[in-house]
Symmetry: C2
Subunit: 164 residues, 2 copies
Amino acid sequence: MTQTLQEIQEHPVNYVPKELLASPGFLLAKMGVAMKTRALEEFEEAGYEAYHYGVLALLDESARGTQAAIADALAVDRSQLVGILDSLEERKLIERHRDQTDRRRQTVTLTAEGRKQLVRLRGIVRGIEDEFLAPLDAKSREALHDLLLQLACFHDPRCGAGAA
Amino acid sequence: MTQTLQEIQEHPVNYVPKELLASPGFLLAKMGVAMKTRALEEFEEAGYEAYHYGVLALLDESARGTQAAIADALAVDRSQLVGILDSLEERKLIERHRDQTDRRRQTVTLTAEGRKQLVRLRGIVRGIEDEFLAPLDAKSREALHDLLLQLACFHDPRCGAGAA
DNA sequence: TATTGTTATACTCTATAACTATA
DNA sequence: TATAGTTATAGAGTATAACAATA
């Protein structure tokens, strides 16, 4: 949609309905989707996908995991994870090894290069957040984080258990 | 994805990476998308689309509007709005009338039935929010709302101007 | 020629189903 | 028979492009 100058002049009262702005649920959805969209763009610009960061961050904490466990932790379908891992393996950021006790399973581990790129991705993530949360000072960001974490723990038990 | 009992037993440490949980941006995206998904489901269950509510709420505030103005206010593409309005018109919740001074334009207005259904939809919206924001008390919800509104106004000027 | 509303098309993201090799 | 990973397919949701009527 390309908005011309004339359009802007003819429709100056181009406001978002107050009723929607008064709804925390609407704003949460709106801002959450905007945050996600922004993140996807930034990652793509850097040559990555957002899920790459999730996988690397997870492996950095747990050292190794089966694909099923990784998929569950990140709440992506196992079939979706395949492509993500393929892409990470091509770049030599992770390695897949057959589990010798159960040859159906692959054990996924982080490479040295993967650890290095994770640091780079952390920088990108910080940049995205700083830009998106720009109007909020440190205290406000922490307040927002607290509230969102309460919601996350309530709706997804895996947040509380692992983070405790 | 069907998770069997055996899987749950074999992968008990099915936690979300702490690094992600520590990120307000990640949580905002995660919860925002969850909120949106939940809302879409609830609306569908009630026989509506989420955008129906947006259109009705907007028309209730501004009485009438061209399709272009409505699309811009709700940040949907004009081509997408067509289907939404078709659906609302079929149910006789809105009416489209050709603008006689510029026959390219359609003026969209709310019907009495539309006003009635808007009340019903407001109830649904309240239900969705109450369920999703359940762990937060009134004060916390207001704090969340304030923070999100700051973000919305920063990223989308139409929020501040119209709401002031 | 440009714009409104409309229709048609393509693309992203995700969810589901089917396949293989192992158990 | 059931599971781990994989591949193939289908479905939302949205963005882009082309169109007819009107200005």
